[in-house]
């Protein structure tokens, strides 16, 4: 019964949030339960009176009154239902937005290590699914809960109606419905499985239908004539993989036949038994009609209770994933000490070792290095030597496994996280721009100091391009927000990212492979600007192009997670057995 244990905590969590933000929503839910629970009784009681009257006295004024009562009550229910739907839909939209905001905020504020953790990534996928109306969402939960409660109300009423007139019929109905429920519960078990399969399958479905269609594959497919390969794979999927679903279907069909059989038998029993009672003058035709309707409602509501409890368990299974994600603990936000505002800061790595979560090997080993204010450090090494990890630790995206990183002599973990990150301007290798305006991208905020933005643009070497843009700083980056947005080239985007780093004006600047997408002249340009870009700030420069080492004070050569050499270029290049010389020579020989 594992599936059921989360129902209460989950409902408490989500309705708790709903209650805090949209109190009237809870009222609307209650009204809905009452209206849909009680409305079946109109069509149980009133038509009976009409039939009795038609078969008996046939008084026109009584008939008019009865018909008026019937249609007006039905009208009232119908209008009430419309109103309830109107209000609850509005609340659902707002609550859904609220949950989206919560999810996004969580994604953006949680510990960075979580964002590179495959389990958390999967958890996020599941969390989003929990808010999708196909699987979960507060809308479906409320709908299911409402159906459940109104079924309980209807059941209570029909038990009273049927039990009073015909206790035996009630007993038979309970037996038939119980059998039916057993089948439905097994059927639903199958359908939970179906939904699970569906999720697995959706990834495949998405790949074969949507992903493979993307134009980006165009060149490879043509030059390598991959058309037969791709056609075969899609065809296999459409004709084999997809039809595996039929297996599930066949099993489900057995249950469908059984429930149909039971329902038909129940109907036959109902009409036969009650018919005989009418013929033997035990009940009137009006009562016959009433009992038929009431019995059908009874069976329907009993089945509704079981189905909706199962349904609720299924919905909660998905929504619980959302709850788990939103409640993931953040451990990095423990520090509270504000960083003292100053232009000069010293950073020291003291015997730092680091292993990624779940990794077997250390990515950094006993790294000790001090960055004095205004120093320029170049970090070099082969792919996978630990350069990027070093930067991630510096940015406090991860905390060291062993050792300490000190800012002005204090362990950085003691500082308030946001306040510490204020110190850093970073252009990551895989930097991302937003689909907002250039101004907003450079300022990384909705408001900007235009003079400073332009100065940053100029220092980053983007001024000339900016002048060609009709809308200047208001130009949107990408077309997501604005049809007239501009898709900048790799080199241009990189300059925008550099401008953003300059605008931030933080005391420490990190540039990770900033020239990878640039042609030689643009690269030369950046190298030449390096001094004016950085000024007297502390700077760290990572590059495969060792040429960049020439304008840094010191070079740290990483190999297998360790700093194997440290010093200025002229010194390191003299050690002909060192890693640095090997790399330098590999590139330099082509330029001799």
């Amino acid at each position: 019964m594992n599936a059921y244990k989360n129902i209460i905590p989950c409902m408490r969590y989500f309705y708790g949030i709903a209650w805090r933000h949209e109190k009237p929503y809870i009222l609307v839910i209650a009204a809905n339960m009452l209206v849909s629970g009680l409305s079946p009784f109109i069509n149980i009681f009133v038509p009976k009176r009409i039939i009795d009257e038609l078969l008996g006295a046939r008084q026109v004024d009584v008939l008019v009154l009865l018909v008026a009562v019937l249609v007006l009550l039905n009208l009232a229910v119908s209008v009430a239902t419309n109103l309830i739907r109107y209000f609850s839909n509005k609340y659902h939209i707002r609550l859904e937005q609220r949950f989206v905001q919560m999810l996004e905020e969580k994604c953006m504020s949680m510990d960075f290590s979580n964002t590179e953790n495959a389990d958390i990534l999967a958890q996020r996928e599941r969390a989003i699914r929990g808010m999708d109306t196909v699987y979960g969402s507060i809308e479906v939960m409320t709908f299911t809960l409402g159906a459940l409660v109104s079924a309980v109300i209807t059941l209570a009423g029909t038990v009273y109606v049927v039990g009073r007139l015909s206790p035996l019929l009630l007993a038979v109905l309970v037996a038939v419905t119980a059998a039916n429920m057993l089948i439905v519960s097994r059927l639903s078990k199958g359908s939970t499985e179906f939904y699970k399969n569906l999720i697995e399958d959706q990834r495949k479905f998405g790949y074969y239908t949507w992903e493979l269609k993307r134009f980006q594959y165009g060149k490879d497919i043509r030059i390598y004539n991959a058309v037969p390969l791709i056609r075969q794979r899609i065809d296999d999927y459409a004709s084999k993989d997809w039809y595996m679903q039929r297996k599930f279907n066949r099993r489900q069909n057995r249950y469908t036949i059984m429930t149909t059989l039971l329902n038909a038998a129940q109907q036959a029993l109902l009409y036969g038994y009650l018919g005989v009672r009418v013929v033997t003058k035990l009940i009137t035709v009006g009562e016959f009609q009433m009992l038929v309707t009431a019995s059908l409602n009874f069976a329907g509501s009993l089945r509704g209770i079981v189905e909706n409890v199962i349904g609720l368990a299924r919905v909660v299974e998905y929504m619980n994933e959302t709850r788990v994600f939103l409640q993931l603990p953040d451990v990095m936000r423990s520090g509270s000490r504000p960083v003292v505002k100053a232009d000069k800061h010293t950073i020291e790595f003291r015997d730092v070792s680091f292993k990624y979560p779940n990794a077997e090997y250390y990515s950094l080993r006993h790294v000790s290095i001090t960055l004095t204010p205004g120093s320029k450090l170049s970090v070099v090494g082969r792919n996978g030597a630990g350069k990027t990890t070093f930067i991630k630790l510096l940015c406090r995206l991860y905390d060291p496994t062993e050792g300490q990183i000190l800012l002005d002599g204090v362990d950085i973990r003691e500082y308030d996280l946001d306040s510490y990150r204020e110190l850093l301007s970073v252009v990551f290798q895989d930097y991302k721009l937003l689909a907002f305006s250039l101004r907003e991208n450079i300022a990384a905020a909705p408001e900007a100091d235009d003079a400073r933005v332009l100065e940053s643009v100029c220092k980053a070497g983007f001024s000339e391009r900016l002048e060609t843009l009709e809308n200047g700083l208001d130009t949107a980056v990408y077309k997501d927000f604005d049809k007239n947005g501009v898709e900048f080239s790799g080199g241009e985007s990189q300059k925008i990212a550099i401008a953003r780093a300059i605008y931030k004006n933080a005391p420490i600047t990190v540039l990770d492979e900033p020239t990878a997408a640039l042609d030689p002249m643009a690269e030369y340009d950046i190298y030449n600007r390096f001094d004016s870009l950085i000024g007297d700030k502390t700077a760290i420069y990572i590059s495969h192009r060792l040429s960049s080492c020439r304008f840094c004070d010191n070079i740290a050569v990483f190999k297998d997670g360790e700093i194997v050499q440290y010093g200025p270029h002229d010194e390191l290049v003299k050690d002909e057995h060192g890693e640095y010389f090997t790399m330098w020579a590999a590139q330099a020989k082509y330029y001799e």
Binding site: L54, L63, V67, L70, L75, S78, N82, K90, V100, E104, C107, M108, T115, E116, L187, S191, R203, Y208, T209, E211, L212, K213, F215, G218, K219, D220, I221, N225, A226, P228, R231, D235, A238, W242, N249, N253, T256, I257, T259, T260, L261, A264, L269, Y271, G272, G275, L397, V426, D430, K432, A435, A444, D480, S489, R500, P520, E523, M583, Q587, A588
Partner: protein, 615 residues
């Protein structure tokens, strides 16, 4: 105001097209549709007719055995009709029934058809924004179970079903006179008009909301995409993004509330018209009973049948509205998949050229991108010798990529000719011509298939596995692959297989190299193949370049001018034209742009005193 265009195909044409597609993709579906429609229509008739017969017996003859027989018959009829309906299409919300799977399978086929069009269009068209737009519109025809192509195929079923039910109920009610039918029809028409107007207004609001929704989608995607994680944290973008998201959510909510209000209004009109219908129905039927013209059994039967009549007619009307909507989307779909294929005929490439390659000559070739008025290449004349190693250099945007795309016939020259062994390449069969080239592109795409398939780019049973291993070895990736339990049979990416492998940038570049080697074509094009490699891995590729490209014509594009050292000739592009051409030494001596670029890069590697003087 947008002018209303005449749709490409009429509703009837699209409906017939859909029937033809079903016949082509899954003809058995017709049998399923017929069966389900009949069983559903009969399933509606049983609860109308059987209770009447029973009640007639109760109020008339009153024979017990007759009542029991009828009740049993009632049960049996329900079992058969509902059983068939349930097995074929299922009831309610639980997706089941063989037909659902068939309908979705149908949609997969439509996806596949569009994909085939993507793969066979001229490549040049793929980079044309107009084609992209058409393709995106066509994709809307596959947005869901009840949209576009699948939506229309399902409508074939549901409309047929309601039509049969309608005929059944009409034949019962019409016996009573058509008066009631007319009232019901009138009510439905009023309802239809109101809801149709509401729908139009609703669609206007929804359309106006599209940009807002696009923005919301973008922000949801971006803030949830952990690739943005580092920048979001370092530049404290969280609050900025959330503020924007909340603002757009506010706009969305305001408009969505309007839509709800419209729905409420038309819902209430529906309730009121239903009231009119109920009053008319009860008044008419009660009057007949009071007059003694109608038994109580028929009284109940007519109530049920009028309600069923009304709901099936309503379904039919709704179906028709939906049909119109799907038809519009299907027009977009057809417009795309029916773009005529370029006749792929043409002469086969002679066997010895396929084996050894041939000289290629550009003759006054010019090219302009669609929608651009600037020439990307202008009047380029140039000859690539057989088995030459050619380096192509130049600044970003100078025309290097356009040059190789023209060479590989991914683009067609606007003017001028490209000759292969003396004959215009346009006269050759397109697919045959592609066989001449192996290429490592700047952005490399891998597929969620096995590593072996990603190297051979062929179906698994046509893949030469030893050769795959050899090529991976040459590309320097075999060490990595040996660490994988399933070796070259490992699936790439985690999309289809959770145990799939994800390669780093450098490894992907090596895989692409292996792919090029496997193809073993006479021409090999390498576009910045070392961008993601470190200094030593890059050097290794340089060292082995000769071995890898022996007996082939090789074209090497790079920003690293060092790479030009092992090429026979260098061409430098500037502003869409070949500005310089010659060996490395010749160009250096020439003292032009190449010498300048080389100097810029080389200075950092020269003696330190000299370098310091420069910086």
């Amino acid at each position: 105001m947008e002018k209303k265009e005449k749709p490409r195909y009429s509703l009837a044409e699209n409906f017939m097209w859909m029937l033809r597609c079903i016949r082509e993709f899954d003809p058995r579906l017709f049998a399923w549709i017929a069966m389900n429609a009949v069983s559903t229509a009969l399933g509606h008739m049983v609860p109308i007719v059987m209770p009447k017969l029973i009640i007639d017996e109760l109020t008339g003859g009153g024979r017990v055995e007759r009542v029991v027989t009828l009740a049993v018959l009632f049960g049996a009829a329900l079992f058969i009709t509902n059983g068939i309906t349930g097995i074929s299409y299922g009831f309610g919300t639980i997706p089941s029934g063989s037909m659902s799977i068939r309908f979705i399978a149908l949609r997969i086929r439509f996806h596949a058809r569009q994909n085939l069009k993507n793969m066979t269009l001229d490549y040049q068209k793929l980079e044309d924004p107009e084609t992209l737009d058409m393709a995106q519109r066509a994709e809307r025809a596959m947005y869901g179970n009840y949209e576009g192509v699948e939506g229309m195929s399902r409508l074939v079923l549901t409309m047929f079903r309601s039509l049969l039910t309608l005929i059944g109920t009409v034949s019962i009610v019409v016996v009573m006179g058509y008066w009631l039918l007319l009232v019901t029809l009138g009510v439905l028409i009023v309802n239809y008009i109101v809801s149709n107007r509401a729908r139009i207004r609703d669609k206007q609001i929804a359309d106006a909301l599209a940009p807002t929704n696009r923005k919301i989608n973008y922000m949801e995607r971006m803030s949830g995409d952990f690739k943005y994680g580092k920048d979001i944290r370092i530049y404290s973008l969280k609050d900025f993004i959330l503020t924007r998201l909340k603002k757009e959510h506010g706009v969305h909510f305001k408009e969505a509330s309007k839509r709800q209000k419209i729905a409420l209004f038309s819902g209430n009109i529906g309730s009121l018209t239903a009231l009119v219908q109920e009053i008319a129905m009860y008044a008419w039927l009660c009057r007949l009973v009071v007059k003694g013209a109608l038994g109580i059994g028929s009284f109940l039967m007519y109530i049920t049948s009028i309600r069923t009549f009304s709901s099936s007619l309503n379904e039919l009307l709704e179906g028709f509205v939906s049909l119109q909507r799907q038809s519009a989307v299907i027009c977009d779909y057809r417009a795309y998949v029916e773009i005529p294929d370029t006749p792929s005929g043409g002469a086969p490439v002679p066997a010895d050229i396929l084996r050894n390659g041939a000289e290629i000559e550009f003759e006054h070739v010019s090219f302009k991108y669609p929608g651009s008025d600037k020439y990307a290449l202008y009047d380029v004349s140039f000859k690539i010798n057989l088995r030459e190693k050619l380096a192509v250099v130049g600044l970003n945007g100078a025309g290097k990529s356009t040059f190789i795309k023209l060479l590989m016939r991914l683009y067609k020259p606007e003017s001028g000719r490209i000759l292969l062994g003396g004959a215009d390449i346009q006269t050759y069969d397109r697919d045959e011509y592609f066989r001449l080239f192996s290429a490592v592109f700047q952005e490399i795409n891998t597929f969620a298939f096995t590593i072996a398939e990603n190297v051979s780019m062929q179906e698994y049973d046509k893949t030469d596995l030893p050769r795959v291993r050899r090529c991976l070895e040459l590309a320097g990736l075999m060490d990595k692959i040996d660490t994988l339990p399933k070796g070259v049979d490992t699936t790439m990416l985690k999309t289809l297989d959770l145990d799939g492998v994800e390669f780093s940038g450098g490894e992907i570049q090596k895989l692409a190299l292996a792919r090029a080697l496997y193809k073993d074509a006479p021409f090999i094009v390498l576009d910045e193949p070392t961008a993601a490699l470190d200094a030593l891995a890059e050097e290794r590729l340089y060292m082995e370049f000769d071995k890898l490209t022996r007996d082939k014509t090789a074209i090497y594009i790079s920003h690293r001018l060092a790479s030009t050292r092992f090429c026979d000739r260098v061409i430098l592009f500037e502003n869409g034209a070949i500005a310089e051409c010659g060996t490395h030494d010749e160009l250096l001596n020439q003292g032009g742009k190449y010498a300048e670029l080389f100097g810029v890069q080389a200075q950092y590697y020269r003696d330190s005193e000299e370098a310091e003087a420069l910086v």
